[in-house]
Amino acid sequence: MVQYSTARLDASFAALSDATRRGVLEQLGRADASITDLAEKFHMTLTGMKKHVGVLEQVGLVTTEKVGRVRTCKLGRRRLSEETAWLERYRQLWASRFDELDKVVEELKRKEKANARKKRK
């Protein structure tokens, strides 16, 4: 149901087209980790890992936060924003249904009144 824009899909696709970056996502799916942890786990230099994390961060798949001297990485909030977008579309569907339903209810009210008037006569 969610529609992905091509540009965004391309960017995520590029971000995911690297085995290390997919590994990082998998890793962060299990637990948050610092760049140092990740660099060690993937046998990489800090600079190398920073680059990978940067790519993932750009497309929203990862967020990082610096606390003291440690930069912690976690899975991004993109899912959340996609959920928000979906919820908004879902809300709009119901809102437009209900706006139509208003009309039906008005019509039923009108008919009921007319019938009541007829009966009274």
Partner: protein, 172 residues
């Protein structure tokens, strides 16, 4: 792509709110300016249901709308972009309590049945309607939302690319 037409609420319309209540449940709330018996009627008579269930903004029209609104009765709504592309929603009614409560199953999904409960509460001539959609699991709800879908698609494309690159590739 979705049109940028923002459907801002016109002053007279009551607001519709949607909230994710839990990992498995959504709740939609709306007030109607009419008594519960009329709002309920509009949900239980197919000839009235079809007047509002497929608003124009949905981009699909309701090709058929059958609803046997009794406990155990079935419903089937068929939507279509055109005659060749249709989508059916179906299930059965579990509870039908006049003017106050409707419960039905949604059986078209593959992750198990979702249950929809609608309650109608009348106050001073107005009706507060609360619709809850309870999915069998978080995965089913995510699937309905399309997370699973989108990510799977991305990975599938990725797999294809890797296969293509596989032959010529040295190291990334």
């Amino acid at each position: 792509m979705h049109a940028r037409r923002e459907s801002e609420p016109t002053p007279m319309k009551n607001p519709t709110t949607v909230e994710r209540k839990s990992e498995r449940e959504f709740v939609v709330t709306r007030t109607f300016n009419g008594p519960a018996r009329l709002v309920f009627e509009a949900w239980t008579k197919p000839e009235l249901l079809k007047l509002w269930w497929a608003p124009k903004s949905m981009g699909m029209s309701l090709l058929s709308c059958e609803a046997d609104v009794r406990v155990g009765g079935k419903y089937r709504f068929v939507f279509g972009f055109d005659a060749s592309k249709t989508m059916a929603f179906f299930g059965r009614y579990l509870e039908v309590t006049p003017h106050s409560r409707l419960v039905w199953t949604n059986e078209e999904g593959d992750g198990g049945e979702a249950i929809t409960t609608v309650t109608f509460e009348e106050k001073g001539g107005k009706t507060l309607l609360v619709l809850s959609e309870l999915h069998p699991s978080k995965e089913a709800l995510d699937g309905a939302i399309g997370f699973g879908e989108g990510l799977r698609e991305t990975f599938e494309q990725l797999d294809e690319l890797l296969v293509t690159l596989g032959a010529s590739e040295g190291r990334s």
